[in-house]
């Protein structure tokens, strides 16, 4: 099976995330990331000293803004708003995209008919979808989240269609002989086979979705990181723009490390580990 690689699995990574060894394996990547980011800050500081300018604030200045915004609560309010939209759009895109993808992947004639649609939607620029959604459905939350989801759905469809094509029919046949219920089939036969594809779609999905969410907020919402960035763009406040951007990137990194990777390790615990 040509499943996309789901990342390295350190030996000894076990299902129980509260145990000692898995805590250590969860912390090692965090430390590496921290050291690497520190290096980047240092480089940034040096560059700021070499070319001092209002349009190019240093890490210290950005940090000050970050603290101030955190203290008055704005930072968390806007991060929360954006995070909520990312989560909602992610869930909608994954569910809808997976259902369509699996249907197309398992019905050849439907796939042949709808394939051009998928290609078309893949190539519609995000901005067009967002503008049309706001025009047709108004400047509201549903339009915003829907527009982001529609941008992501074709990618999910393509990945999950690949996953459905790679399904091993012998498992489905075994399930048919032993008369598995629908729920058992989905939970124990279908989803575990699709897991690498779900993981791949999720990874590329979150990265894409949060960037589109910022655009959606910039064009038609009155809160969220995208809205704040637009506001500070008009005020020409680069330090604040960077503060919000970095805060959100940090949140996404933490989610990746503390949520996505442990979930993935748990889902792939049955694979034979390298001896």
């Amino acid at each position: 099976m040509s499943a996309p690689d789901t990342g390295d699995r350190p030996p000894g990574a076990v299902a129980d995330i509260s145990s000692q060894s898995s805590l250590a394996t969860a912390l090692t990547p965090v430390l590496t990331v921290a050291v690497s980011l520190l290096g980047l800050c240092l480089l940034w500081g040096l560059a700021e000293n070499a070319w001092p300018s209002r349009a190019f604030p240093g890490p210290g200045q950005v940090w000050q803004v970050l603290l101030a915004e955190a203290a008055n609560g704005d930072l968390f309010y806007h991060l929360g708003a954006t995070l909520g939209r990312v989560a909602a759009a992610y869930v909608v895109a994954m569910v809808v995209g997976s259902v369509i993808g699996v249907l197309l992947g398992s019905h050849r004639s439907a796939d042949r008919f709808f394939s051009p649609w998928v290609v078309l939607f893949l190539n519609i620029p995000a901005l067009v979808v967002i503008v049309l959604a706001y025009i047709w459905f108004g400047l509201n939350e549903a339009a915003a989240i829907g527009a982001v989801a529609v941008n992501k759905i074709p990618n999910v469809v393509v990945t999950m269609r690949e996953g459905a094509r790679a399904l091993d029919p012998s498992y489905a046949e075994m399930a048919a002989v032993y008369r598995f219920g629908l729920l058992d089939r989905v939970r124990h036969v279908l989803l575990p086979q699709l897991q690498p594809y779900l993981a791949a779609a999720s990874r590329s999905g979150i990265a894409l979705i949060w960037k589109i969410v910022l655009v959606v907020e910039l064009l038609g919402r009155s809160n969220g990181v995208g809205f704040q960035i637009y506001l500070y763009f008009q005020l020409f406040d680069v330090a604040a723009i960077l503060a919000y951007t970095l805060a959100f990137v940090a949140v996404m990194l933490v989610i990746e490390l503390l949520l996505v990777q442990p979930v993935e390790r748990h889902a792939t615990r049955w694979r034979r580990r390298p001896a």
Binding site: S170, Y171, E173, M174, A176, V177, Y178, R179, F180, D184, H188, V189, P192, Q195, W270, R271, R272
Partner: protein, 246 residues
């Protein structure tokens, strides 16, 4: 030693099964294949490789509906069927025990499986994942799954293929032990004559493709008396009856 479940025998009457290959060539795999397996009987379907044995089982399992003819599965008691496939086909992401329990109907989900796992020598392996099992152990787990469901009829497709002879022999004994505890109507596919003679009450001998029945060979002798001496006698009389076959 009462035969359980089945009141109706397994009756097979397949007129024809034809495959159409990707290039449009049609291959007739089965033609006028009819036989019967009495209730509580262990029958073997013996035939050369590629003659259509797996095809027959797939039809009986309901996995291939594109054929002409009919068949009747045993009913009474449970009308569940169980199968041990040519490959073990365990879900790699579930443990041995979960694999077995998932195949059980809701009413049996929590039943005690200690006895079955003990008999099959799987007691210490219940929490292992299939990737951590040898092929022999995986085949035992597939047997455990089939017997745990207490089926009305059991289908086995070369369950001991690609094992070394010692392991295969051990597994044949295990199969006989669990089967004797609850003699279920069973149909096992094999191309190994010795295996068929050792395990079955009746051997259904198939011809080359397209498969049809060449004849029946009944082994009346109880299994515990089939020692090496008797086995070579059985072999001889089988070859007398089917000079060219198998």
């Amino acid at each position: 030693m009462q035969p359980v479940g089945a009141v109706v025998p397994l009756r097979v009457d397949i007129a024809e099964k034809t495959f159409r290959s990707a290039q449009g060539v049609s291959i007739t795999a089965l033609q006028d294949l009819s036989f019967e397996v009495r209730q509580g009987e262990f029958a073997c379907l013996l035939g050369p490789s590629g003659c259509g044995k797996t095809t027959t089982l797939r039809i009986l399992l309901g996995l291939d509906k594109n054929f002409s003819g009919s068949f009747q599965l045993p009913e009474g008691g449970s009308n569940r069927i169980a199968a041990v496939f040519q490959e073990p086909i365990l879900l790699p992401w579930r443990t041995v025990e979960q694999n077995v329990r998932l195949a059980l109907p809701k009413s049996l989900r929590t039943k005690n499986l200690d006895g079955l796992f003990d008999t099959l020598g799987l007691a210490g392996m219940r929490s292992l994942y299939p990737a951590e099992l040898s092929l022999g152990l995986a085949r035992r787990a597939a047997l455990a799954r089939a017997f745990a469901t207490e089926p009305a009829v059991l289908f086995l497709d070369e369950p001991f293929a690609s094992l070394d002879e010692r392991t295969a022999g051990r597994l044949r004994h295990l199969l006989l032990t669990v089967w004797s505890a609850r003699p279920t109507t069973a149909l096992m596919v094999t191309h190994n004559l010795r295996e068929a003679l050792m395990l079955s009450d009746r051997i259904i001998v198939l011809a080359q493709r397209p498969a049809h029945v060449l004849g029946m060979f009944d082994v009346k002798l109880p299994r515990q008396y089939r020692n090496p001496q008797v086995m070579s006698d059985l072999l001889r009389s089988f070859h007398q009856k089917f000079p060219g076959g198998a």
